[in-house]
Symmetry: C2
Subunit: 255 residues, 2 copies
């Protein structure tokens, strides 16, 4: 596991809410985006869950996750229709009231005329008591943050601006540094050396990912750490291994 140099790691879980993902109708685009975004902030994403638009299931997942991780992010289920139940589920999870928030209505007035603020649209201004709003410059219906739970839209473009809006409020961890090396040998050939390398560099996380390209198996080795020197030592150890074993290897582009 990644060393955190004496400070506690900042961790997160992501709860994706949406029947459309579970039915296979829609390919989720938010998991990878949020995962990479949090990694750049030094926040370690430790778990993702996808559940249906069901108040009980959402509330249960939020309660399970918010006690284990620094932050819980949710996407989806905050629109104006009958199947948007995320805000109610969050209120249920925290056992607080939910009501139309004047500041949410004020935000929506930047886009909607009074006659367009229908009861359906005003559903999007309902937030659990104690929550603070997250700005949505695109479609104006806000997200919100309640304690360590951050509730965002499911539409990727809107989720992304909400994430930008909330990021300055979050604790940052130590940046996670990454190096990748591509080996043109199957994982099975690289395995003994990599196991030894991991044992001798416990504070660097060494992952091994097979790939299959042009009918040949290869292995990406990904090294991650928050300590640049320890990472460099492990990378040097990997190149020693490559040289001793006679593997063909190239440094891969790091994110």
């Amino acid at each position: 596991m990644t060393a955190q140099q004496g400070s506690e790691p900042v961790t997160a879980a992501l709860l994706v809410i949406g029947e459309e993902i579970l039915s296979g109708r829609t390919r989720d685009e938010n998991i990878t985006y949020i995962a990479a975004y949090l990694t750049r902030m030094g926040i370690v994403l430790r778990e993702v869950r996808v559940v249906a638009d069901d108040e009980e299931e959402i509330a249960a997942a939020v309660n399970a996750l918010r006690r284990r991780f620094t932050y819980v992010f949710t996407t989806g289920g905050i629109g104006p229709t009958h199947d948007d139940v995320t805000a109610d589920a969050i209120a249920k999870a925290f056992e607080v009231e939910i009501a139309v928030a004047p500041d949410a209505v004020a935000a929506m007035r930047k886009r909607f005329e009074t006659e367009d603020l229908t009861p359906a649209r005003l559903r999007m201004a309902r937030v659990p008591k104690g929550a603070t709003l997250i700005d949505n410059p695109i479609s104006r219906a806000p997200g919100f943050m309640l304690e360590n739970v951050i509730v965002m839209a499911g539409v990727p473009r809107i989720m992304q601006v909400m994430l930008d809006a909330v990021a300055p409020r979050l604790a940052k961890g130590n940046p996670i540094l990454t190096r990748s090396v591509r080996l043109d040998v199957p994982e099975g050939d690289a395995a003994p050396g990599l196991a030894d390398l991991q044992s001798s560099h416990p504070e660097v996380q060494i992952g091994s990912y097979p790939f299959f390209e042009n009918k040949r198996l290869g292995t990406y080795v990904v090294l991650r750490a928050t300590d640049a020197d320890k990472l460099a030592d492990a990378v040097a150890g990997l190149w020693d291994l490559v040289s001793k074993q006679g593997f063909h290897a190239v440094a891969a582009v790091d994110e």
Copy 2:
């Protein structure tokens, strides 16, 4: 929720195992594939979790999920390297022994010469006691099924052949029928009518998914049921609504 016409619904959870998904390095391709595959089999995917390559976390997730759903599918973590801990985690979850299985070695001999069956590769022949193998015609290291838990590779092509291999062993549910209609109005305008439609068709699941295209908001309405007549009634009700409200709408392609 979808009606199951007197028979119990066949349900599933998917557990995706892989640090690379959580770090944002790799975009998962298996969730959507498995979701759509199970939907076609009439198996209702109810939850997805993504966890790191960590024995404790995998075991805890498997135990939480296998008691709630008909099946639990896992992807990832069954390769030959030090970070492949899924088989051990499953053994731990079920509190059974794990050992090299002769039939798994026999399967691997179809591809590997004896001198290539190194200790690292033989790790891939270790399966928990009581498991039955799932054939892998591509790279030969098998998946396995233990009670209601189905353990597959993470590499998409290999996962896909394993899913084909195990599918005939699984209970099928009533096929889930789907119709989609695209409305060229924002969700907020469609919401009241859709809420009424859902109330009057409780055995049809009516989902509403906003989209943003050419700078305009629109709404996909997705209707799902196992009973064709009830689905047809709800679709007719939707077209009535479209006509009464003067929406522009087109039937969308169904999966």
